[in-house]
Amino acid sequence: MACTFPLQYQGWDVDAVNTTNFSNHPGYGKIGGRVVDPDEVQQVIEGLGGIVDVTLEYDMVISGYCPRPETVEVVRKLCAELKPLVALVVDPVLGDNGKLYVQETIVPEYERLMVECPVSLTTPNLFEFELLSKCKVSSWSDLKRAMNAFHEKFHIPNVVILSIEIEGQLYAVGALRESQSIKQKLTSDNSNLQESEERDGLAIFYFPIQKLDCNFNGSGDVLTAIVSHCFYKNGCKLTPETLSEALIKLEHILKKSIQIETQKTGKQVSHVKDIQIVALRAVLDMNPTMRPVFWVQ
């Protein structure tokens, strides 16, 4: 849901198929409403099929929170049929910080979806990435190994991991599969053109991000919306520019959300329950200068 407004604001006609119908998100500790029955999700998708050709109507299909294994199955059946021109983005929402927030049986459902469907971009967080690649990541060499395993398993050309902590520093990581060798400006090495090292056709880059002393709800959804838009705009190719732009915008939104919350409560805040994407919508119009990028050798 936090995905719809930023996409619309960036010019997308969004056909939103709801997978839950709650009063608020679980971060409040109390909740009303319920999960949308997977059959009902299936019904709505079938209804769409009655008026448009869902396999090629859309420029992009984004899959987010699916609360039940059967919901993932419904999404998989739809996505498996998508025509090659459709960009499929999958945010495999499973959990965070070592904890699943879905049933365990949903993990293999996601694996199947990611194997069988033509996914162009996926945006797991570290916990989700570790679950799906079956590798623990605590160093750059772990990451490289895990990314290779992930790639071998799923063959997804573009991967973004929203945040990874390595030696006390937070990073956002991008990985892209290259069919031929590419020339890159190694900004960490002061702009000499160099042939990038090519191993298994996989290039991995990263940006350090500043860790904010605060927990957020919904930051993943907003980032997915912003990354997906930048990704599509760039011809469905993840580049350092794409990820940098998205990260800078998100960072603005997070920092200002803390400010707004602090002003409202008059206290130091450690948990922002609702990031202020509507109040901060102008950030989406920004045209930020790119951050220096680093490559995993």
């Binding site: 407004f5 009303g32 009902e40 707004i260 109040a279």
Partner: protein, 317 residues
Amino acid sequence: MKSVLSIQSHVAHGYVGGKAAVFPLQTQGWEVDNVNTVNFSNHTGYGTYKGSAISSADLSSIFHGLDSIQMQYDAVLSGYIPNAELIDEVSRYVKRVKTQKPNTIYLFDPVMGDQGFLYVSESCVARYRQLLNERIIDIITPNQFELELLCGFKINSNDDLRSAVRMLHDEYHIKYVVISSLEGDADHIRCAVSAYNDAHINEFQIPIIKSYFTGVGDLFSALLLDKFYTYVENEDANIHTLTAAVNTALTITQKVLILTHELGVKAFKKAEGYNIDQPVGIINDAATMKYFELKVIQAKDYYSIKDGTFKSYSVHT
């Protein structure tokens, strides 16, 4: 930040109900809490659709959820509610919201039908009359058919119009009444505006665009809420502020419709490879209908328009 609770229908594809109302409000800085009364694939004008209405138990659970996190709103907007049980739930919750915060503005759009055709269950009419008795509504925006259903008589003259409007003010204590569309001449829709503390009814004449639009009423009431809230912030609400807010909402609505028609005709030509004489959306024809969905996203820059360009007239009876 201003906050609004919007209680509307949801469609995955197309722009009616919440899909027509929420985005324009968000672009104007409203934090929108969205509660869906139905969850459909598309609006019923396509002839086929799938999905279902929310159960009253689920709606009640959502409202209790909002209660338990002590939500307060600057405004409440309600639109399509398909049956009487759901109207009860909405009525109960809005009453609680207004008890929490008495100056919450409730804009109630009694969506029931249009041009003699009812698109909610029959039992809604009586239940809506009960809701009117709760004295929680600040602004009401029926079209002519809905006004006739609520008041129980036909509007054939300006005298009838005045009686109906007075009934809403005096019997139901609704301060602000906007009749979103009244039969006019062949080329115009009339829109009437009245405030409880003023004897005048103001009217606008809107040139009809010959096309098939859906969701226009939902867009219009959302825009009206935004403009009304913005205009009354600085002054007391009276017939002039209300008329000015309606004018701006009508002006924006007209621009959205012109854009929708233009883009619809263009897309139709491009996709179908030919130009039909008058490519208006045809009801129950999915193939045509889809080109004339309101261009709510493409019209993003219109929603901030500050002044209306229509002229209002005082109605003589």
